[in-house]
Amino acid sequence: MAELSAFGGASLTYDLGADSDGSPLLTLAGELDMTNADALEKVVAPVLSRAPSRLVIDVSGLLFGDSSAIALFVKWANVVGQVELREPPELLSRVIARMGLSERLGVTR
């Protein structure tokens, strides 16, 4: 896991790997909000530039995600076409559900 440092911002670690079907797998842990969403987007950009058909985001370790985090996931979903938001904590999954985005973000439990 690499540390994503944002000066004075939330602390987030991420890992880029491959899911069982070879799709890119982004594993996130910590906190993702407007202070580090930019940095994370830059880190993931090279993976998306290879135009994968599916992106798996393992957010089981994501303790906090604000609307900027959700907007970033939505952006990725729009770019890739199919996103799987894997095992979000209940706090996050409830917010996503209330925003009507569960299906769009491919939330799996």
Binding site: F64, S67, I70, A71, K75, N78, R98, G100, L101
Partner: protein
């Protein structure tokens, strides 16, 4: 960031600035040389004390050494006395034993002449001194024979068994005369005279063991100038540090006064106080200068700290100012007046979040579509800052335009994705639209990813769990459905943004339930209700919060 309380007035900020500025000024004007002066005084005092101690030690040591030298001189003199006494005693004994045999006398005393120790030795008959000496070896004696002095002297000598000194014989040449009659029974006495330099001056030879001192010998038990025998200096008495010893010499004594010609213990102990003084003064000056430098540095640091404090104060002031500007802008983008419609109370509030100075993206809007219909809108643009505010303004005015044109929310909500595009600016917006038909008490709610409204009636608060469409900005082809509910007479509809219910680390449903419970037990007027909700639920919200409500009048 969150340490600054909301609404730090500019006046208070300026007051902070003033106190911040006065602190370093006062320090800077304080006399800076107190500590260096103290160092100087202490340094000089210590140096002085050390000098005094070392000087005292030097003086005591020199005095002790001088006393030892005086005793040495005395010992040498004492050792020399037999050379005067013995020949005279032996010659007297010989004369008495031989009945005043002149030839034998002359033969005996001859080796003791030539100034060592005598220049003149003569044989006298004790009770007939007027006739002069019976025999003379060496120079003629200076002692006048037919005088009371001679008579008294020989009478005294005959009576005593000690060496007798006649004293100074001042008729030139200057001499000192002695006689020694060990037995008082004899009638003859040998009498010797030693010569003294006419000026009584005999310098110490450089190769002498005593070349480190000056001396003055006096006859008698005190250093009377008139009784000076001989001295190594012309100026007498010896002044300065000197030591005196008295050595018994026959019926009188020698008094020897010595003074050091230089430091007896060598030059180092003599120079030590000066060395200490010079080193002490130099060290003191160095320490004083160092203290001056350190004090200056400290003052600079204090001054710098003061300046930093000023900068911090200025930052606080700017922060408060910026925050004020952001809030002013936010309020400018929100409706300044709410429509007034018969049979309905309308109220709305906006509260900036406590975190940061950045403007938020929350808004509310209330539009009178016609006499009986009202559009209540609340929305939340993701992110913060001017971009969020600009998007918020665009959405608000677009909705305004579409609504005035007569379009229904489920029609215009997809079009709003032309203004917000998550793929371009990573922004999404949640919007809740409620079209209220006032006379029929019907509420038609459409949600683009927004939190549900709460309908309050006599039965309490109810979260209107309606179908939720995609947030604005996600998909231009999103479809929305509106849900119509019927409101009871006197019912209240509350729409809000997440700042009112969201807490970090808490399930959003818990926050919603808290709000529902809060409004269920509240029977205040609509205005009071919104105010209380904001103060009780939204006060510590990190996010900004918008809340709007309508209430049917009975």
């Amino acid at each position: 960031m969150s340490g600054v309380a909301e609404g730090v007035a500019p006046v208070e900020a300026e007051r902070l600035e003033e106190t911040g500025a006065s602190r370093p000024t006062r320090d800077r004007h304080r006399w800076p040389f107190g500590a260096p002066l103290a160092v100087l005084v202490v340094g000089l005092t210590v140096t002085g004390i050390l000098c005094w101690i070392s000087s005292g030690l030097y003086t005591r040591n020199e005095t002790r050494l001088l006393k030892l030298r005086a005793q040495d001189v005395g010992a040498v003199l004492t050792a020399a006395l037999p050379s005067v006494q013995t020949p005279l005693a032996s010659a007297t004994a010989l004369a008495n034993a031989t009945g005043g045999n002149v030839a034998k006398f002359e033969q005996f005393v001859a080796p003791y002449l030539h100034g060592n120790p005598f220049v003149s030795v003569s044989l006298w008959q004790v009770n007939a001194t007027d006739r002069g000496p019976l025999a003379v070896v060496g120079a003629p004696p200076v002692l006048p024979p037919s005088t009371a002095r001679a008579r008294d002297f020989f009478a005294r000598a005959a009576a005593s068994s000690n060496l007798n000194i006649v004293g100074f014989l001042r008729r030139p040449p200057l001499r000192l005369g002695y006689a020694f009659t060990p037995t008082s029974s004899g009638s003859f006495a040998a009498y010797g005279e030693s010569s003294l330099p006419s000026n009584r001056y005999a310098p110490v030879q450089n190769n002498s063991a005593f070349n480190d001192i000056n001396y003055a010998f006096y006859l008698g038990r005190s250093a009377k100038p008139a009784e000076l025998l001989i001295a190594s200096v012309h100026r007498l008495p010896l002044t300065g540090r000197h030591a005196t010893v008295t050595i018994p010499f026959g019926d009188t004594a020698f008094t020897v006064t010595v003074a050091a010609r230089g430091p007896l213990a060598g030059t180092l102990p003599k120079r030590l106080p000066w060395a200490i003084a010079i080193a002490g003064i130099l060290l003191t000056i160095a320490a004083t200068l160092l203290t001056v430098v350190l004090v200056k540095r400290r003052q600079d640091a204090v001054g710098l700290a003061g300046e930093l404090e000023q900068v911090a104060d200025e930052n606080r002031r700017l922060y408060a100012q910026e925050r004020g500007i952001a809030q002013t802008l936010q309020h400018a983008l929100l409706p300044d007046t709410l429509p007034q419609l018969p049979g309905l109370q309308i109220s709305a509030r906006y509260e900036p979040g406590v975190e940061g100075v950045e403007i938020g993206g929350d808004w509310y809007d209330v539009l009178a579509l016609n006499d009986r219909r009202l559009l209540l809108v609340v929305g939340d643009v993701s992110g913060k800052g001017l971009q969020a505010a600009a998007t918020m303004a665009a959405l608000r005015f677009a909705i305004h335009a579409y609504a005035v044109e007569g379009q229904a929310p489920q029609t215009f909500l997809p079009k709003l994705s032309g203004l917000v595009n998550v793929s371009v600016d990573r922004q999404i917006a949640t919007v809740l639209c409620a079209v209220i038909d006032i006379p029929s008490h019907e509420v038609s709610v459409t949600s683009a990813g927004h939190l549900p409204p709460i309908l309050i009636s006599d039965r309490g608060g109810e979260i209107l769990e309606i179908p939720v469409g995609l947030p604005v900005g996600v998909d231009r082809n999103a479809s929305y459905t509106s849900t119509t509910v019927s409101a009871a007479a006197g019912a209240t509809l509350i729409v809000f943004t997440d700042g009112l219910v969201e807490r970090r680390g808490e399930n959003i449903d818990v926050g919603l339930e808290r709000l529902r419970a809060q409004v269920s037990s509240n029977h205040a007027s609509l205005d009071q209700l919104l105010t209380q909700l904001l103060s009780e639920l939204g006060e510590h919200a990190p996010d900004d919060t918008a809340v709007a409500g309508i209430r049917w009048l009975n």
